[in-house]
Amino acid sequence: MNRWIILFFSLIMTGAFAHGQKTHSLGDEAHSIRDSGKTYHESISVIRKMHPEFLNHKRDKTLREGVRTEEYSLKGCVTCHATKKDNSNDYHSVNSEGQFCSTCHKKVATSMDCFSCHRTTPAQGAK
């Protein structure tokens, strides 16, 4: 019986560590929001599942109707989820290997075309 309990706990812990390691590419701004105890997205599971729909809807609102709110703007995603290079003020591209976008997209084998046009790092002077 004890053996089963040990096995069960070790599985849970492995899961927890694996999850913890994945968040290293969360992005600088997003990290500091999370560390301060605030939440930006209403629900992580909703934004994980629905972000393509949110982005598609928002792009039409912005481009065609001129609605320029921050919520679900791709610019906003990049600003928060980009990570600075070590010892430098430059950012890693948000879609490059191991960074925020590519971590999941690679796993689920999608190749998105956002960043053949959109900027992959926050603009100079942005936070």
Partner: protein, 243 residues
């Protein structure tokens, strides 16, 4: 057991509910009007430009071109050659053959009311906003370049190479068509387009063509102005005086 409701109780509940809904609705209305950018643009406005070719010097036009390049990040494409190079706004010399008079024009997308580029687009990527600004929705653009052929002003360009480090407000990419956006990202914030802001004099005026108190509307009432290729009946939003 059947519940009966008398007249007095009915009035009480109805009043309370109405008051509740009214309070909620007031809150919603208040937040809606806080930020103008939350509302879609409407056709109560039509953005336009008046270019006075008598006052606009060649240096001014060069300034307008480089202001546009800096704002949108075009013009430094390395691999494109000749006609492939992007050109959102260009300097044009026109000569009156009868008198020999030469005028210099800054020519960009004329933001037609009846844009031929929108008519020919097979995917609805070429589009006109409610406030008259003609844009390319690059999400839908398949790069067929019909719009470039349809445009009488040759105002559009095609991106022939892969680009990186684009401007945050101006996504540009290989395989799509692009042109002057009348700096829509600035206009939505209540600012002037970059080329207009780069000219120090009143040689270029930007504003709402429909607003009778706007400078552009009042100037157009006073001075003689013309549309380029007015014979095509496109009703352009960019007008010229002095040619």
């Amino acid at each position: 057991m059947e519940k009966t409701i008398n007249r007095r109780d009915f009035i009480k509940t109805t009043t309370a509910t109405t008051a509740g809904v009214a309070t909620l609705a007031t809150g919603i209305t208040l937040t809606t009007f806080v930020n103008a950018n939350e509302n879609p643009v409407t056709n109560e406005k039509r953005w336009g430009m008046l270019i006075d070719t008598n006052r606009l010097t060649e240096t001014d036009i060069d300034g307008m071109v480089s202001a546009c390049q800096n704002e949108h990040g075009w013009g430094s494409d390395k691999l494109s050659t000749g006609d492939q190079k992007a050109s959102w706004i260009k300097k044009l010399k026109v000569k009156d053959t009868a008198t020999g008079r030469i005028s210099n024009l800054a020519l960009m997308c004329q933001h037609c009311e009846e844009p031929p580029c929108v008519d020919v687009c097979p995917t609805n990527a070429s589009m006109k906003r409610e406030d008259g600004i003609v844009l390319v929705d690059k999400h839908l653009c398949i790069g067929c370049r019909y719009c470039m052929m349809a445009c009488p002003y040759e105002a559009r360009s095609f991106v022939h190479e892969e680009l990186t480090d684009q401007k945050e407000h101006m996504p540009r990419g290989k395989g799509t068509v692009e042109s002057c956006t009348m700096c829509v990202h600035k206009v939505d914030k209540g600012e002037q387009p970059a080329c207009v802001a780069s000219v120090n004099s009143d040689a270029v005026i930007f504003g709402d063509l429909y607003d009778s108190s706007s400078k552009i509307n009042q100037t157009l009432k006073k001075v003689q102005s013309t549309q380029i290729r007015a014979d095509l009946n496109l009703n352009t939003a960019v007008r010229y005086s002095g040619i």
